[in-house]
Chain length 331, copies 6
Amino acid sequence: MLNQNDLNLLQKGEPVNHFLLLKKCEIRNTKTNKQYLYLELGDKTASLNANLWDNFEEFYKQVNTGDVVKVAGSIDEFQGTPQIRINSIRKSNRKDDVLPQDFLPVSKRNPEIMKREILDRMEKISDPYLRTLMKQIFSGENLEKFLKAPAGKSWHHSYIHGLNEHTLEIIKICDLMCDIHPEINRDLLISGAMLHDLGKVEELSYETSFDYTDKGKLLGHIVISAMLINEEAKKISNFPEEIKNCLLHLILSHQGKLEYASPVVPKTLEAITLYQADELSAKVNAYKNALSSNSVSDSKWTKFISLASTDLYNHGIPQEDDEGINKTLFD
Amino acid sequence: MLNQNDLNLLQKGEPVNHFLLLKKCEIRNTKTNKQYLYLELGDKTASLNANLWDNFEEFYKQVNTGDVVKVAGSIDEFQGTPQIRINSIRKSNRKDDVLPQDFLPVSKRNPEIMKREILDRMEKISDPYLRTLMKQIFSGENLEKFLKAPAGKSWHHSYIHGLNEHTLEIIKICDLMCDIHPEINRDLLISGAMLHDLGKVEELSYETSFDYTDKGKLLGHIVISAMLINEEAKKISNFPEEIKNCLLHLILSHQGKLEYASPVVPKTLEAITLYQADELSAKVNAYKNALSSNSVSDSKWTKFISLASTDLYNHGIPQEDDEGINKTLFD
Amino acid sequence: MLNQNDLNLLQKGEPVNHFLLLKKCEIRNTKTNKQYLYLELGDKTASLNANLWDNFEEFYKQVNTGDVVKVAGSIDEFQGTPQIRINSIRKSNRKDDVLPQDFLPVSKRNPEIMKREILDRMEKISDPYLRTLMKQIFSGENLEKFLKAPAGKSWHHSYIHGLNEHTLEIIKICDLMCDIHPEINRDLLISGAMLHDLGKVEELSYETSFDYTDKGKLLGHIVISAMLINEEAKKISNFPEEIKNCLLHLILSHQGKLEYASPVVPKTLEAITLYQADELSAKVNAYKNALSSNSVSDSKWTKFISLASTDLYNHGIPQEDDEGINKTLFD
Amino acid sequence: MLNQNDLNLLQKGEPVNHFLLLKKCEIRNTKTNKQYLYLELGDKTASLNANLWDNFEEFYKQVNTGDVVKVAGSIDEFQGTPQIRINSIRKSNRKDDVLPQDFLPVSKRNPEIMKREILDRMEKISDPYLRTLMKQIFSGENLEKFLKAPAGKSWHHSYIHGLNEHTLEIIKICDLMCDIHPEINRDLLISGAMLHDLGKVEELSYETSFDYTDKGKLLGHIVISAMLINEEAKKISNFPEEIKNCLLHLILSHQGKLEYASPVVPKTLEAITLYQADELSAKVNAYKNALSSNSVSDSKWTKFISLASTDLYNHGIPQEDDEGINKTLFD
Amino acid sequence: MLNQNDLNLLQKGEPVNHFLLLKKCEIRNTKTNKQYLYLELGDKTASLNANLWDNFEEFYKQVNTGDVVKVAGSIDEFQGTPQIRINSIRKSNRKDDVLPQDFLPVSKRNPEIMKREILDRMEKISDPYLRTLMKQIFSGENLEKFLKAPAGKSWHHSYIHGLNEHTLEIIKICDLMCDIHPEINRDLLISGAMLHDLGKVEELSYETSFDYTDKGKLLGHIVISAMLINEEAKKISNFPEEIKNCLLHLILSHQGKLEYASPVVPKTLEAITLYQADELSAKVNAYKNALSSNSVSDSKWTKFISLASTDLYNHGIPQEDDEGINKTLFD
Amino acid sequence: MLNQNDLNLLQKGEPVNHFLLLKKCEIRNTKTNKQYLYLELGDKTASLNANLWDNFEEFYKQVNTGDVVKVAGSIDEFQGTPQIRINSIRKSNRKDDVLPQDFLPVSKRNPEIMKREILDRMEKISDPYLRTLMKQIFSGENLEKFLKAPAGKSWHHSYIHGLNEHTLEIIKICDLMCDIHPEINRDLLISGAMLHDLGKVEELSYETSFDYTDKGKLLGHIVISAMLINEEAKKISNFPEEIKNCLLHLILSHQGKLEYASPVVPKTLEAITLYQADELSAKVNAYKNALSSNSVSDSKWTKFISLASTDLYNHGIPQEDDEGINKTLFD
């Protein structure tokens, strides 16, 4: 466990004596042809720039982006944005006992609680075929990856454990919709909710930063999910064809529209519910993050957010206390 | 209270001795120039055609669409769809004690329970300005209309009490989202949810059938709502400008996109939540209704549903019992 | 083999003594409430209407759409379109030795030649993994279905053997593009061309008429193809991951745009080539068919073709002789 | 009244001894970490950059963007674009008798003449309800703001008095359309034209620069206008409901399409006329400005204009003399 | 000159003794297989249906659609719409002295006045090259066709002389815009306005009804106009290339957007003015016609107008007298 | 013929002693106000930057972009991209015997072979009118320009001789489609293919760089082609109107959709074939070039290609030898 102050809390002038993730490392030169080393360094709360003006060749040869480095220096400020003024820098070694993943953004919810929630909900699926399929898929390496992966590269739930956090939100919303509409097949819908973004564990890489894999860009998480479900269902004898097709349909249609990369549009009551529940969870999380990470000083308006096609407004209306954030959703 | 069997339960050959709503009444003629009277007659469960071949002139002069008539005859079937074979027909009179609204489709939920739910939730708004505004608006004639109106002409919650039923669903979804995201201002969001479709009480007429009013087509329910809120907030001294603008923004942006007739897109966390919660409630209700009212005999597929741009699939997978439909959502 | 004149060649007044496919069979009634039986009867060249005015109850109980019936009568004409005036009609029996598929539209090319072409081309794939995969997939039941299936319900190559005919055209175009551009990986492209629409054998039913299956509507042929390829490649030890992903990418992206139901857009040189070759083959075939089957008498213009968003023009400019239609494309 | 040469007329090397509006004022630093003060200074004709390299801290603390400053120096040129080389700079004080608004772009038409034109036209409205409503709205503070406001932030008529200038152009066009088409209700159309953009007086701020207000971004000028008209019409007893709804419809639909932020599309003859007249006035003004302010040296083509989705062409064809610009449109 | 009452003024029961244009003439048959002749007959004010039940074979052989026929009978009404009950009918002959064009809809403005207006305006073009080009084009057969042609098949100004009427409206609007904006090159703009739709004289046929020609559908009026101007300008020695290109650009871009079939978008100040002036003239005329010809009895709302994507509203607000309709626009 | 190594082959540190095309030449200045000369220098294989820090005034006055200059110096590298470090530079003179066009990108195919191919194919057109028209157009200056011009500014076949190379590819594809579909009129289609982009010889300038001409931007190559064909066909007596209209239709519709700037959509079998063949040739060439010229070091993925709306993937799968590139397509 890392014992150092979060980067986003340091003020101008305060000392830096931190392990940080090396996010960019490039030799640049000034207009007058002087070379220097341009760095981007971060922890899970922030990313800052820094320049090395001399004797950086040795360091430059030793490191790669994604490495953890030890930095000593102080917080400086240029043109209104904080930078790190570096006194010394070195690559971390085994004795330091630090890992790149300690520097990635992470869900604010407790991962152990979230793990228990998803496994508990799985047990409550009544249909034996679906419950068997779920337990077969959510086990071993698949389960581990699912519990750790982010739900996206940058837009919504884009932090470690984000995929499970997002999945749990959708399940909660879907269970509410089943309470309201008994016509919905609850087992089918909840199974679809659990599986809908599972392919993201192969679509995204998230060891030292969040990015798409080659497979992810060539196939997309929707089809990766579908192929996995198809394989696993084949292992269960007599798995009903109708259930399998309706479950696959849930996965394939959950982005709701062809232009959002779903190869089919929702055609069942469960499919329209899953699509809209996914939208609700994703959009609210994305706007919440965009509001906090794109703020402009002295303004209630954020920068223009291109995925929302607008800038967003942080109104100043006082609100209720934050008391619920780590409480279990399923009680 | 009307004491007769529902029209959709009558089988071919069974007698008809019913009060029914006159939905269409036109003189037509056959290819061979014989005139006859074409009628459309319905109760809240179904609409059937009927023809009068002789002596219909007197009856034709007495009635208008929207009247209740008394019909004696039997159920016939032509080309696979049931019709009414009429033996006698007359306009209803005062002694019959029947009203057109007894024949309109109506919510399956208990209106008294729903009324209590909406009023109870209103009382729980903590912000004094918002609570005062809500109580001022949801009273008298406005409240009465709100409790009775449908939420649409034909797509979702298009039945008597549908507006309140839809509003309660959204409130429930929004309260869940506030549980998950304490950053959302709960009072603001719930007030916006309660008011978002209020303008529909003037946009729609629903006395004898559901249709748009002239005002509704010229202004739209969004602007009608906004003008009403603006008027009512002016009556409350010192109503905070910031709250008023954010509340109006919720109403104006709740259809989410300009092309869906919202004059502004969602720019606050509450606004994106309300839009997505509205979508979830509306789409699930709409697809549920479309699945049941567009079925094709001997097929799991409905007719093509143009608002969904697809036909829909009634899978045969057994589901849980319907036990929750009349239980209060707020407990 | 059926020995009777094609329906589209019969003139008004000529006798009918034909086996025909029963495409529609409904009891209707006239304005004056007389019931009659409305029929649609066809062979592979045309479909005509017919009415039975009396004694049709027994016949109606015996038959289903998709059955072959024996009809005696003559060609009549009403309102400018030919009909069949029926003297007698009966359901076919085993001794008649006729099958529904004898009445479906069929490719004009020789199926045996086309079979040889596709199998020969498969043998020329140099990459051993891809050739093994192709031979594994194009065998047994899969091969049989592939050789028989149409390539669509109604727009292009919508006739028996149409899927293979369409596939062969694309292969020919793709081979030409490889001749022009040596940068294209020929084995990969040709394998993708062979497999791109294979899922249509499960997406479509084509025993007695052309329609979508439930699975086809819920999953779509693109994903059906991808799941099949994924399964089969798993059976080949050491099948290279890169080749598998690029092959799957070809299938997934071959409709070129998300809004055309491809879950990913073309991202490799082979993928853009396959998409454009598919478009070329499909559009030319579709327009050719639309021009001949939507003509309007006394006009060079067809009816409005909604898939082309225009009416089409049959200019009168004389053209070269038709000499190439049954010659093998691969020589 | 300011007595100094327009900034856009000064040549390289000429002295600067000007009051200018401070539009930007930021501390920046060079690659070699030297801090300097970056300024943007302008009058109503142009904006130029300037740098202060030393002793800027005191000045920096005294000023805010939007202040007027007194600058002495000369015109310099770097990389082909003129800059100001500053010898001395100070904040203006009361004795200088200069105001920020003296430095904003302003209509070329005489504001007094335009004021008379709009008030005269208002008097000619024959319908008593509409004339009363217009006189009630176009008075006091509303009138003052209307006469001064720009019609937009940057695209068309984006200068002081631009809102009235734009409104007068539309009125002239609408009166011509009424001459051609007597079916148009002239009073209704002209009233709608006068009011259509009135909400911009609250949507935009234009004291020291042109920008959107919070209210403007949350509600939009269309709804602000509608709420104002609704309030004012309520004060007139017996104001006819039909006229009010049609007038509100004009305002709501005047941007013509939902995707242009109108919550309803034009449904009356007056509404389609107003929309098209607005387009004509706005587009011609916008293109005229874009042609003159985006020119590229040594080219007849402007820079790419993103709102027009093209670059524009200044052809060299000689044209008639400019003689009409200040003559009254209404004579 | 035809001396008979307009068809749209005849009431049910009134006698018909009229020459009418034969717009449709088809043999149909009833459900019970009785053949009859279905006719559509019209003058320039209306079109009515009629049926001939007996002895129609001889008549059917003599006539073609587009012929004028003499009809005796009376006005009947079926299903709420008037029909003609025919007593006798015959084809017109030379002695009748009637022509098909007497039965086409025609502009309400005086064609001689409009001819004078367009020729007078042409003389006022100051640029000698443009004036010469205009006089060369607007002469002989071209001029005759231009003065007679409609401006469209059905949407706006779709009546005889409509092309000139529409062109004159645009000229009037453009002259107003030149008064407001002296930056516009008036000669260029007015020349473009005169020529912009000239190609419609070859795109449309309008002898016996309004329809597209083969050439019109294959090339479109925009390119037909451009080719004609190109040819005629080549005949004028030293015609300036810059003027020619800008004039062609006006014609090519006057539909404003690529998706409206303009091959280039407006890139000059004149081009944007012409596009918006065309839109204003076309839309107001189209909506005016749609309001009067799509009215629904007992409703202020028209039928749904697909080209406007809405139904339209005939408000009941009294308006000024129609006094200007035949007065010359240019005085 | 230029005797120097290609720029894209030079390594860091290697000497430069080259004639190069001057593509950009601007005086810039550093943050500290020092002026320098910024240059962009290239041959047909690459473009590199260079800076002159002193004594550049004389050189700057002598040259214009588009000139050839002689440069001595060496290859340097800053921030990972190569630059030229200049020791001396001078403008080329007549004795140097170098021309700007020697420095433009050029087709890899042999231009003499391509010239023979296009002329040979022209001779094989059987229809005498079309063959005469082709020979008339493809002669003299038109032919010369056609053989040299690129087919675009930057997207596909954007190199010298690219227009002919692209045209030949389309012809080959079209001939294949005629082999498959004898219903296509081969003469018409091939003539359309030859002419479809001919207008690009006037739309583009390609003497010293590739850019659009004024005429090209105002009219577009489609209409330029159409006007030329119209003129030339008028010179041939009795040129059949039907052939002329269908040929013009091919040119006008060959971009397939209105939004791609075709003023009409394809309405004949030849037109749909030409559009799809053009797409196939253009897209494959464009993606091939984009893959090679947008590569990112150490990545199989290119930069984001905005015209493809995606980044592209260079898979590592080995492919067949490049043996065919200079062989004649028509043998």
